[in-house]
Symmetry: C2
Subunit: 311 residues, 2 copies
């Protein structure tokens, strides 16, 4: 990364857009969690209930176990109560649906999540639809997606709302900017395209939602002030697709074999960071970008779930 | 419209994209309604229940009265039962909400609509949220919007689904096409942007959602294979914004004073038809384009509501 060896006096005198700044999701998430912890502490001091997140984990998928572990650790950092319910891969849909029903009714639980993916014999959408939208802190329920699209209060799924929060806390300008989102998934690209199009702050972008059937993607990306890569293909976005001074947000987190790591793998984003970063005004790294913000959002949603419950 | 005077032998030998074809919504809607009428007739012959649409109309707004009259007339054409409930402008929110509740519970009613806009003292969203999503044939409830976004069965609001149907029935190619939608309203632009982005047929467009804060709109429109104008500004889209061979769908229906008409007004679209049409491969007129398709969609939704009820 030659960029980092440019002497300081050069970067100081360069126009702002020519100096790349990291969108440090790890640090931003730390600040958010510290703010939440403060609020929880204050509630505790007043003798009030503290937020309680429950999580259902089925099976032993490595990625899922890591995600859940990070979420539970974040609960601890925020001062939340948390409960993990684990099931074997062979658990029946019925048992899972009954658990969901029980959690819906359990007044001590403010919000809960069912870690996806679920084994093939279980209908994920059926499980999602069974969750009380008021406790659906993952924001995957159609009722919450619809409310988000209509700008009504509800839960927005954690990755898009984490990205919005990362944009907000870094004071990035969005109004009137051309934003290209690559990837139309139900949990990232599609909802994010709606959010960034809305008449909100951040928002008011002119959003283009690109996907596997998009023609001339490179040309489209070259017109973008903001590129959000959320397709799950390591190193997909290359320097020739990015205009000078663009903002790049990398949502990709693919596990790629790496024998130099104790774990045997490393997380790789959708953006070829080394070559793209020098062209950007801002870029989020992987790891340490969107990932930690996703978890911070889940914590914000859980706090909100508790606040909503009284209403 | 000089275009119409080009001798036939010229248009015959011109490449396809240089020959403009009308997207005749009136005729397409007529065909759809005739198909529905056939189905209803067959049901009737079998002694089965026929679809029943109810409509609530508040006040005496000219536009609303015309829309409702057209919807009821279409019910008749389709062989549906219909019931109109009218209220004075001064009706309380409570009375309206009670009516909605009653219609939700009334087993003889398959679907119902509350004609918008409502008087200022009534919270439109509160009324929309009170409608049973299973009877919400206007598709305005967040649950139906969310289901549409997740590609789950439900009701899609009538204008976007009418546009999709107009595209489908005219066999327009959409996969990989660049589509610019102008206008981000909750009932047209925003849901349509999701639908045309989905991995469906029609669908798979690369959609850009433009709005009042979009910069360089003309330049963006010039890259579009398909332009959908849904901002409600008469004659907004001009020839210089349209590339040769583009498909233009005009959703605008603004009432503009016209002393030559008995009514004193005429409907004007968002597209300057006379100058844009000669550049297009396909264009929908106003009136007779999207408007009749919207009503045909409402009829399709009502038929679907009855079919869903048994399940």
């Amino acid at each position: 990364m030659a960029f980092f060896f440019i002497p300081d006096y050069l970067t100081i005198f360069a126009p702002k857009s020519e100096r790349m700044e990291l969108l440090d999701g790890k640090e931003t998430a730390r600040i958010i969690k510290a703010e939440i912890a403060q609020q929880v502490k204050a509630r505790k001091a007043e003798g009030k209930k503290i937020p309680h997140l429950a999580a259902i984990l089925v099976g032993t998928d490595g990625g899922s176990m890591t995600y859940i572990a990070n979420k539970l650790k974040s609960c601890e950092e925020c001062g939340f109560e948390s409960t993990l319910m684990r099931y074997d891969d062979s658990v029946s849909e019925e048992v899972l649906l009954n658990k969901v029903k029980q959690l819906n009714e359990d007044k001590s639980i403010d919000g809960f999540i069912v870690q996806l993916p679920l084994p093939a014999h279980i209908d994920e959408m059926k499980v999602t639809l069974a969750i009380d939208p008021q406790k659906d802190v993952d924001g995957f329920h159609p009722m919450n997606l619809g409310k988000m699209a209509l700008n009504l209060p509800g839960f927005v799924s954690a990755t898009p709302s984490g990205i919005i929060e990362l944009i907000r806390r870094n004071n990035l300008e969005t109004a009137g900017k051309k934003c290209v989102i690559i990837g139309r998934s139900n949990i990232v690209g599609m909802p994010l395209s709606i959010m960034l199009s809305q008449n909100t702050e951040p928002g008011n972008c002119t959003v283009t939602l690109a996907h596997s059937q998009t023609v001339n993607l490179k040309e489209i990306c070259l017109t973008a002030d903001i590129i959000i890569a959320a397709l799950g293909q390591p190193n997909f976005v290359t320097a020739d697709m990015v205009k000078d001074g663009a903002v790049i947000i990398d949502v990709g987190t693919t596990r790629v074999q790496d024998s130099t790591k104790v774990s045997g793998w490393k997380l790789v984003g959708d953006v070829k960071f080394d070559e793209v970063a020098p062209k950007c005004s801002y870029i989020s790294p992987v790891p340490g970008g969107v990932g930690p913000m996703t978890i911070a959002s889940l914590m914000m949603n859980t706090l909100k779930a508790m606040d909503l419950k009284g209403k």
